[in-house]
């Protein structure tokens, strides 16, 4: 089968799964809603409880889940290809936590001043992830042959501890209510309750996905190692910079919407590679689509399993992802 046909099949297959998930999940929840009433525009919105639940609570939450899932999963693919290590993800590298620090700073000190129409939270989250990525970049440059799993995981542990400490330090100055909100957000929560965080992250998402599309082939070559990639005609330094930059953008955007939700960036790329093989031109779009469906489905579990209590979705992904990660560590030679 030619690659064109495999590409079309992959995108259609995973696309159908995602569309189906996105259509069905807003209908499910602790409160029954009547679809006909939701779209009955003759009832004023203020009196239409079904429409309010659908448009104010469930739809933005589903969209947030889809964006965050797609971003984390594809950023995971890019980090793994770039660092040539299947265990690299925004979460394990500490990049998510770096982005969270940026976002927490923006939230706590109320940096709502939007400059040039861009909200401060995604910008601060991006700045945080870029800072964390700069450290990973320096590490990768110092070790020309790529980061070993040991170095990578140790660096991730260190960075996570460091940024977590900074977050706690910032929390020390926050009020009790703010602390509770931030804590819940840090667990990874998609209860956005408005379209604002999603819209604010749209520009960053657009740039990140555009660069990802360009990166697919360079990432294939980088799997050979930098020297071989260079001799095949790839500008390795430029591809690496583009990958680091776009993966930080994606992580920043995802964290600004849903907080540092873990393990999506490792579960999804691995499952996708088992299904479609390692070619990044298939893995990247499939991971973005599957990541969206996966996180939305996890969020459905999070908000229904203990209904009417709604859990942060990060708890669900960590419960699935933790054992998965250990299995990967054990399986690897």
């Amino acid at each position: 089968m030619t690659l064109q046909r495999r590409f079309v099949r992959t995108v259609l297959g995973f696309g159908a799964l995602t569309v189906l998930t996105l259509l069905l999940t807003p209908l499910v929840g602790p409160t029954y809603i009547n679809l006909r009433r939701v779209f009955d525009f003759s009832i004023p919105f203020a009196d239409n409880v079904d429409a309010q639940i659908f448009f104010v609570a469930r739809l933005p939450r589903t969209l947030a889940g889809a964006c965050v899932g797609a971003l984390f999963a594809s950023a995971g693919v890019v980090f793994q290809g770039l660092l040539r290590n299947p265990l690299a993800t925004p979460f394990t590298l500490g990049v998510s936590t770096g982005a969270a620090l940026g976002a927490v700073l923006a939230i706590t000190f109320n940096l709502s001043l939007a400059f040039m129409g861009i909200s401060a939270v995604p910008v601060a989250a991006f700045a945080g992830s870029l800072m964390a990525v700069a450290i990973v970049y320096a590490l990768a440059q110092a070790r020309h042959r790529g980061l070993s799993t040991t170095v990578l995981l140790l660096a991730g542990v260190t960075m996570n501890a460091f940024f977590s400490a900074m977050i706690l330090f910032v929390q020390y100055f926050a009020s009790f209510a703010d602390t509770y909100r931030t804590l819940r957000w840090l667990m990874g929560d998609l209860d956005v309750a408005s379209y604002q965080p999603i819209l604010a992250a749209v520009p960053t998402m657009a740039v990140a996905f555009a660069v990802f599309a360009w990166l697919a082939r360079p990432l294939n070559l980088l799997s050979l190692g930098p020297d071989s990639a260079e001799s095949r005609g790839l500008d390795v330094a430029r591809a690496q910079r583009a990958a680091f930059f776009s993966a930080s953008l994606a992580t920043g955007a995802a964290v600004s919407i849903g907080g540092p939700i873990g393990f999506v960036g490792i579960i999804i790329p691995h499952l996708v590679r088992l299904l479609v093989g390692p070619d990044h031109r298939l893995v990247l779009p499939a991971s973005a689509l599957f990541g969206a469906a996966f996180l939305v489905a996890c969020d459905l579990v999070a908000r229904t399993i203990l209904a009417p209590v709604e859990l942060p979705v990060g708890i669900i992904t960590a419960l699935i992802g933790g054992p998965f990660f250990l299995w990967l560590l054990i399986r690897r030679p």
């Binding site: 599309a213 360009w214 799997s223 001799s231 005609g233 093989g277």
Partner: protein, 291 residues
């Protein structure tokens, strides 16, 4: 013709590892770069491949400095085979070979039937077509090296021109009255057999001989295996501490005197009836020139 003229390179300032080396690789030539570990072989090869830029002197391909050629244009003319290839993910043999087509495609272009035909051809000529759907990581060392060579060939392989182009070229050639030579590319190999068992070494060397003879590929090979270099190469460059000790036809370079000077080993060079040259190390001398 691939030429290096008085090239210098150092990774740390003030400590050059290649010092003023000049080398020519003619079309359809097969040149060996010899020397002990750390003598600058790999660095010189990287400069020839254009992945490191000479800090002094210049490398030219058919008279044009490599720095003037785009990466893709350069990659279409020459390919590098490293000592070992480790992949980060489980690619199949066909996918690895397909990576050779990278410089022939646009940023968002997908390999077409013509590219598939190319890798089928290069996998066939390296005797690895039957491994096409196997995972690269599951192959033996010799098989891996042959697949990487197939990818390298796919990289410098020009698509057969369409019938229309052929007709026009034939007319043009008839008018100009000369044969076209530009189909041939360069294969640069960095100790391609160093991590292989004896059997796999032979497998790779005989493949290189065959490619050189049948496909007129020009080859540059760095190695510290004197026997391999002596058997395979028309001409040799002998390096010590980044400097040229000898450069010329194999028989002139592979002499007991040169072996003693560079390796500090008393040796005999014997020509076997099979055409192979054998270097027999007899004993270590004390006059090793360092390095």
């Amino acid at each position: 013709m691939l030429q290096a003229a008085d090239v210098w390179f150092g990774y740390d300032p003030g400590k050059p590892v290649v010092r003023g080396v000049s080398l020519s690789v003619p079309l359809n030539g097969i040149v060996g770069i010899l020397g002990p570990n750390g003598s600058g072989k790999t660095t010189l090869l990287r400069m020839l491949a254009g992945t490191r830029q000479a800090q002094r002197g210049s490398v030219t391909l058919d008279g044009a400095p490599l720095t003037r050629l785009s990466r893709a244009a350069l990659a279409r003319r020459m390919a590098v085979v490293p000592q070992e290839t480790h992949l980060a993910f489980d690619y199949t043999v066909a996918e690895v070979a397909m990576m050779g087509r990278y410089p022939h495609l646009g940023a968002f272009e997908i390999e077409g039937p013509a590219d598939l035909a190319v890798i089928e051809e290069t996998l066939t000529s390296t005797g690895t077509l039957h491994l096409k759907d196997r995972f690269f990581a599951t192959l033996s060392g010799g098989e891996k090296q042959r697949v990487v060579i197939a990818a390298a060939l796919a990289q410098i392989f020009r698509l057969p021109p369409s019938r229309e182009t052929l007709r026009r070229t034939a007319v043009a050639l008839a008018e100009a009255g000369q044969a076209e030579e530009s189909e041939i590319g360069y294969l640069l190999l960095d100790e391609p057999t160093a991590s292989l068992d004896l059997g796999y070494q032979l497998e790779v060397t005989s493949l290189l001989t065959q490619l050189h003879k049948e496909r007129r590929v020009s080859i540059v090979i760095s190695t510290h295996d004197l026997g391999l270099a002596g058997t395979l190469c028309d001409s040799l460059l002998l390096l010590r501490d980044g400097q040229v000790v000898a450069n010329g036809p194999t028989d002139d370079v592979l002499t007991p005197q040169n072996v003693r000077d560079v390796y500090g080993v008393e040796a005999e060079v014997i020509r076997h009836s099979s055409g192979h040259r054998i270097v027999v190390p007899v004993r270590r001398t004390d006059e090793r020139g360092g390095g």
